[in-house]
């Protein structure tokens, strides 16, 4: 198993050329920048383009690779291999579509990863250093540290700023399990460097990353165990969604260990033995690799934030107000470095809020954002807005309109009946409070609800809107969706 970096093939050379050009020389800094951005992930790059478009003099500092998590070790590589793993699963299930199942389905793991690297290289063109430089942004590579309330130093060079934006993202949070470090483990920062599949894999953590990767590797032929400390996967999501996911995992042949805490790891005979404790009972699993997916922590502890008068902690990250402003009025933060919702699109949206507030004296609140999210398992699990529990805790009466996917013609024709659409409305009105969708393409379906919520469109209007055949609505009458019809 190779975990010492991805192979330096043409794809990797192209990506690195885009995200960390060899022989790069930092520019001569301007006397003072309108905005200095630390971090070149989604939040940092979006902020840089936005600020440059507004005419600001912009500097961006990156200590590693351009593009941050999403491009290099996050969404892009994970969604690439998820797509291939889904295809393998469909090949195995081809018979259900009336297709002759291929006799010898063998996973070419190296080819899967090669495809992923190709996609990553291609997308890196859009997030390249050169492109940002062409947008008139000064790019500096090096470690950034604040040296005052309006200065930041990058490898000995001081940059002065009117405004600064901390967009340093987050990194994997490694669980403190005795023996884990000695035995060796994978995270999202190293798993995409694999060129050979482990024969047996233990995924520790049942959050989005753990669930996505566990299912993908399982479908790529890896004997996969997923151990989740909580009684259900995706603890943030609705119980039914998590239960459907557990059922889906079991159908894939994954070994599901819920309510199981990893308490120790040791290596014997070249295999990793992991002790799992469930309700006081200990069992041991033997695997060849361990992938941890137990959350992420913000990258804030190396920035010398004390010098800038910016408060932070290592759990939440940089402390910001609803306008994304820190305790230092010159300095803002965006994305994973300061937000609980650590999503690529949240980083994007928050960066726009921060730039507007920082450079245009805007007063846009981050709490006003309607944030959808999706876990890209099969079925996908997407959510936007309030959960029922959150609404009831705020004493908002809620009614949920539920459409099982087995009532949707298109889901039946596609044999994708596992899941549901649940839309939560304020009772006796059609005002949408939130929605959860569990479906093959939930990540796309949730956007209609998000648009409705942002635009103040009610459920009755959605129900009256003509949809192309096959979109999720009950067979028979779309009036079933309307609260007024339900009242009748």
């Amino acid at each position: 198993m190779n975990t010492n970096g991805a192979p330096r093939d043409a794809f990797e050379r192209e990506r690195l050329d885009n995200v960390r050009p060899p022989h790069w020389r930092n520019p001569q800094p301007a006397r003072r920048y309108g905005l200095v951005i630390i971090g070149s992930g989604t939040a940092g790059q979006v902020a840089a383009y936005e600020a440059a478009a507004l005419g600001a003099r912009v500097a961006l500092i990156e200590h590693g690779l351009f593009g941050g998590n999403c491009l290099n070790v996050g969404c892009v590589p994970s969604k690439s291999i998820i797509r291939t793993s889904r295809l393998y699963a469909e090949m195995r299930n081809a018979k259900q579509y009336g297709v002759q199942v291929p006799r010898d389905i063998r996973v070419d793991f190296a080819a899967v990863m090669r495809r992923m690297r190709g996609i990553r290289a291609r997308i890196s063109r859009d997030e390249s250093v050169r492109r940002l430089v062409a947008a008139n942004v000064d790019v500096f590579f090096g470690d950034a540290r604040f040296s005052g309330t309006d200065t930041v130093t990058v490898d000995g060079t001081e940059l002065r700023f009117r405004r600064a934006l901390i967009a340093t993202g987050a990194r994997p949070d490694t669980p403190s399990i005795p023996g884990l470090a000695e035995a060796g483990y994978l995270t999202n920062e190293t798993v995409f460097d694999l060129t050979e599949a482990p024969r047996r894999l233990l995924v520790i953590g049942g959050g989005p990353l753990g669930c996505e990767m566990a299912q993908a590797f399982c479908r790529l032929g890896v004997a996969t165990i997923i151990a989740q400390e909580r009684p259900l996967f995706l603890p943030r999501e609705e119980r039914d969604a998590a239960q459907i996911l557990a059922e889906s995992f079991a159908r894939d042949g994954m070994e599901v260990r819920l309510n199981a805490r990893a308490v120790g790891v040791r290596v014997e005979h070249e295999q990793k033995l992991v002790d799992l404790v469930t309700d006081g009972d200990t069992s041991t699993v033997a695997v060849d690799a361990i992938l941890t997916g137990t959350g992420r922590v913000p990258n804030v502890d190396e920035l010398n934030l004390e010098a800038a008068g910016v408060s932070y902690d290592n759990t939440i990250g940089v402390h910001v107000d609803d306008f994304l402003q820190t305790g230092n009025r010159r300095i803002y933060a965006a994305g994973d470095a300061c937000l609980a919702d650590k999503f690529n699109h949240t980083a994007d949206a928050s960066a726009r809020v921060a730039v507007g507030n920082a450079l245009l004296s805007g007063r846009q609140r981050v709490s006003a954002l309607v944030i959808p999210w999706c876990t890209y398992t099969d079925p996908e699990i997407a959510h936007v807005g309030l959960y029922v529990r959150q609404a009831l805790e705020r004493r908002i009466p809620v009614k949920t309109f539920t459409i099982p996917m087995h009532d949707v013609d298109r889901a039946i024709t596609d044999d994708d009946e596992m899941g549901f659409v649940k839309i939560h409305v304020r009772e006796r009105t059609d005002r949408i409070l939130g929605a959860t969708i569990v479906a093959r393409h939930a990540g796309e379906m949730i956007n209609e609800i998000t648009l409705a919520m942002v635009s103040g469109i009610g459920l009755e209007t959605i129900a009256r809107t003509m949809h192309s055949y096959g979109t999720p609505r009950p067979r028979g009458s779309n009036s079933q969706l309307t609260p007024s019809a339900a009242r009748v």
Binding site: N93, Q96, E229, R230, P231, E238, R239, D240, Q243, I244, E247, A250, R251, N259, V277, D279, G280, D281, V388, R389, L392, E393, P397, V398, K399, T400, F401, T402, P404, H406, D407, E417, F420, K422, E427, Q480, A486
Partner: protein, 447 residues
């Protein structure tokens, strides 16, 4: 959607026989020394404390119906109540209980904890609900019945409900000496109303009142198949609390807001079950508007490879599991007893379905008594021999043996339908009344 017409409706005589045969389980499965009752009729089955609760509840039914002499019922009740009074409450790994609660599964002979089972809050509640039922029925001034009532008081009063609450007041699901409280919490509507009512009604260690609201904010009020319903997938959830507590016409805050009540909700849950069976999204054999009943039950499992080949590989065989609608899990396994135990909520629909199911799948009765489940999708092409934990004949796979929970809920719900005996008894129980009021229930018979 598949709809069956016409269907027969079960007659009173047959209903009586089914109820009596179900009661027979408790006579058969009781340990004569401890009074404990086995979880199932399978070999080496331990005692389930919940099944003991059902036993204590159905002895009065048997006396009232003339199936058992009063003295015999009192003696059986005393035996098991004395056992619990004298049981080891140290919380040790091989004790019987702790803080007034009891481990879920006990040795039939010694009462010691088995299977490293959890100290179970809800199963203790079912046990105590049964004990209170007995105390409400056996009210004579004889030494035996006086002792019975004193024992019930002792057992109820020594339960430390508050100890079992978490920081939000939610009652935890279990505790083990090896690891303390389990992670599981009650989330969403389930069978815990009777648990909360008993916890809130305690005169000695009442639960903090915040827990009931903390639990009910996890409810989901959903429009499913055009029915507005407080959602819970498995059918037993819509039955268990109703076995003891007459929830007709009384409302807590949640139900007042929804202009409904839990009894009406169970009726709608039956409609959702029927609608699901009519849709039958997984195309399992047998499902239609007169053949449904997805609940927690025994079932075929993956250790029976001779069965697995008959199933679509996309559908796992679940073994003993909580099956539910409309999101599953569903492996084609149905429970006849769960249909008939819904009798009070929708008598005509239920009787028609129960009769139809028995006619189609007579093998679901064994010795006149409902087996835990059957699975028509796994019907053999020809009759085959019994397997270790199930048999396949007469057009379905059938679970073997009997389960005490199934028999207990069946006896009680048939009785509530026929005479309302258990409901009447418990409406007179001051602890139940106090608990309901503390949970915010108003109206109806509570007024």
């Amino acid at each position: 959607m598949k709809k069956t017409e016409p269907a027969r409706v079960m007659d009173e005589e047959r209903l009586d026989q089914l109820q009596r045969d179900a009661f027979g389980y408790f006579v058969q499965a009781m340990n004569p020394v401890t009074g404990l009752v086995a979880d199932t009729t399978r070999e080496n089955s331990p005692c389930s404390i919940a099944v003991v609760g059902f036993a204590l509840s159905v002895y009065p039914v048997a006396v009232a119906r003339g199936w058992m002499p009063r003295a015999d019922a009192v003696e059986r009740s005393l035996k098991v109540l004395r056992f619990f009074r004298d049981s080891d409450q140290s919380g040790a790994p091989d004790a019987t209980g702790y803080k007034g609660f009891y481990y879920h599964f006990l040795s039939m002979d010694t009462g010691a904890r088995v299977w490293r089972s959890e100290l179970s809050m809800v199963d203790t509640a079912l046990l105590i609900a049964g004990a209170l039922t007995a105390a409400r029925y056996f009210t004579a001034s004889t030494p035996a019945e006086i002792e019975l009532r004193e024992l019930v008081e002792l057992l109820y009063r020594r339960i430390d409900w508050r100890w079992a609450q978490d920081e939000r007041g939610v009652i935890r699901q279990g505790w083990k000496p090896e690891c303390g409280f389990l992670h599981y919490v009650w989330q969403g509507y389930n069978e815990a109303i009777v648990l909360y009512v008993l916890a809130l009604g305690s005169p000695t260690h009442p639960a903090d009142g915040s827990g009931y609201e903390a639990w009910t904010v996890t409810y989901q009020w959903e429009n499913v198949y055009d029915y507005d319903v407080l959602y819970a997938g498995p059918l037993f959830i819509h039955q268990f609390s109703h076995a003891w507590v007459d929830l007709r016409g009384i409302q807590d805050h949640f139900m007042r807001e929804k202009r409904s009540d839990y009894f009406e909700n169970s009726r709608r849950a039956i409609m959702v079950q029927r609608a699901y069976a009519q849709r039958n999204p997984n195309e399992f054999a047998g499902y239609d508007d007169c053949c449904w009943g997805l609940t927690a039950c025994d079932g075929p499992n993956r250790d029976m490879p001779e069965l697995a080949y008959r199933c679509d590989p996309r559908h796992r065989l679940l073994g003993y599991s909580a099956r539910g609608v409309p999101f599953g899990p569903d492996d084609g396994t149905l429970s006849g007893w769960a249909v008939l135990a819904s009798l009070p909520f929708a008598p005509e629909i239920v009787l028609r379905a129960a009769d139809t199911m028995l006619e189609r799948y007579p093998g679901m009765l064994s010795g006149g008594r409902y087996t835990s489940s059957f699975n028509p999708t796994l019907a053999p092409d020809a009759p085959r021999a019994n397997y270790d934990t199930g048999s396949r004949s007469s057009g379905a796979w059938y679970s073997t043996g009997h389960f005490g929970l199934d028999q207990g809920i069946l006896v009680m719900m048939i009785e509530n339908h026929r005479t309302g005996l258990i409901w009447q008894l418990m409406r007179g129980c001051p602890y139940i009344v106090a608990g309901l009021r503390r949970a915010g229930f108003r109206g109806g018979w509570l007024s």
